[in-house]
Symmetry: C2
Subunit: 232 residues, 2 copies
DNA sequence: TGTGTTATCCATAGATCTATGGAGCATGTA
DNA sequence: TACATGCTCCATAGATCTATGGATAACACA
């Protein structure tokens, strides 16, 4: 089915680039890609996370696989998908940056639904590093567990947004919280900050999220939280 | 025609990103974008450069404009298109990097048609800067004139590939030549190097091209060559 | 006010993409 | 060996996208 001519013609380069472009022409595929830049996941989890039917999700993933932007690993009956490399996440980041820079609608959506709390007053990565060293802040990872386990800022506390209220007591009320999530388009951290503030805490968002942290060459840790709980 | 719902729903973010994805799903649009990252151009020139009919080129440009990745400037009866910002070129660069990293076909095409001369032995930007300072090399811009005029490495000589043989005498045979073009996917510099070598000159390619040079924060010059010729 | 140049707008046939239900395939498990 | 689970493959109706010719619009220049 895949015709590979013996000698690819010169113009084929842009055809090849378009193979990758095809991945990001569908909103759901972008959403999938952003999830996969955080952690690997089986198809079923991806379908659930994006609200797709299983077969549809699988079809999208096949398209992404043909473009080689994702790869897979089989574990028993499950197939885990993951971003095929750093370049993939850098590409997604560049896409997001471009959209935020050029499409006023994106900013508008982030502002409307996100939270006004995280707009101008984000903590820079450099500032965070310094203040963590000084023991001045708590770093809060509000993404789902599996994403924390795949990669997180060393020393960060895992507290998925959905458990924020229930586990509020784990946070020292006197120390400022810096929350982070998937990136500038993700609303988890802004929402967490909003809720923390309405609970009377001092809280801010980190600039960007995990992929940008990694891309900045900063240290990354992996593995389940040490808190010892949730033996699973 | 463009329905803008009063309050955009949360999921709209990925729809917005897909607006930009749509630009890079078509090979010709990627080609146009790469051209526009070098220099602004009127529609007719873009159509000619990409081998598109005028109406088709215009249609593609409209799509790119709706995604806000290009903007226009009118001059008399001509409409000049240009990349709408740095983020656009960074995005295109990231796309190319991803394709080179993940799609073996791209490397293959570059190797097959490009030139074997520029594969492993490219000059780094840092090395070039040092050697230019030492007066050790000639920097050669082999892109079309308008691209040189829009932006070039300071001190570079403009010598579009098509005139290479005719103007070979302008190059001191004893000084090594470092040629550059649009970027890692562009074949102009590799071809120039091949021809220079077969003419007995020492020549190498610069890593990447103009956009990457600019993105690295290095100095950029603009304007026609000082050689005084071509009064036009 | 005409005319030529450039570019956009419009309508459309043909090609491509999406979502989805159902069948088919590996892998564990009883 | 029989089943359950988790995915992929297949066929298809409906929606979108592309290329293109012809008409129209914006300018410049007589």
């Amino acid at each position: 089915m895949e015709h590979v001519p013996p000698s690819v013609e010169r113009d084929g380069i842009y055809e090849q680039l378009a193979r990758i472009g095809k991945v990001v022409v569908h909103p759901k595929r972008i959403e999938l890609l952003e999830l996969l830049c955080q952690a690997e996941r089986p198809v079923e989890a991806l379908a659930a996370a994006t609200g797709l039917k299983l077969t549809t999700a699988s079809a999208h993933l096949q398209i992404m696989r043909q473009a080689r932007v994702v790869s897979t690993r089989r574990e028993g009956t499950r197939v885990y998908y993951r971003a095929a490399g750093d370049e993939v996440c850098r590409f997604v980041t560049a896409l997001g940056d471009l959209a935020r820079a050029r499409l006023a609608e994106v900013d508008q959506i982030l502002r409307e639904i996100g939270s006004p709390s995280c707009d101008a007053e984000r903590v820079t990565r450099g500032e965070l590093l310094a203040r963590v060293r000084a023991g001045d802040v708590v770093v809060l990872d509000v993404r789902p567990d599996e994403e924390y386990e795949a990669a997180h800022i060393p020393g960060a506390l895992s507290l998925p947004l959905e458990h924020l209220e229930a586990r509020l007591s784990e946070l020292d009320p006197d120390i400022e919280v810096v929350a982070y999530c998937r990136g500038p388009l993700c609303l988890l951290a802004p929402q967490a900050v909003t809720r923390l503030r309405s609970a009377g805490r001092r809280a801010r968002c980190l600039e960007d999220g995990m992929p940008e942290w990694r891309q900045a060459g900063l240290p990354v840790a992996a593995g389940a939280p040490e808190t010892g709980r949730s033996p699973r």
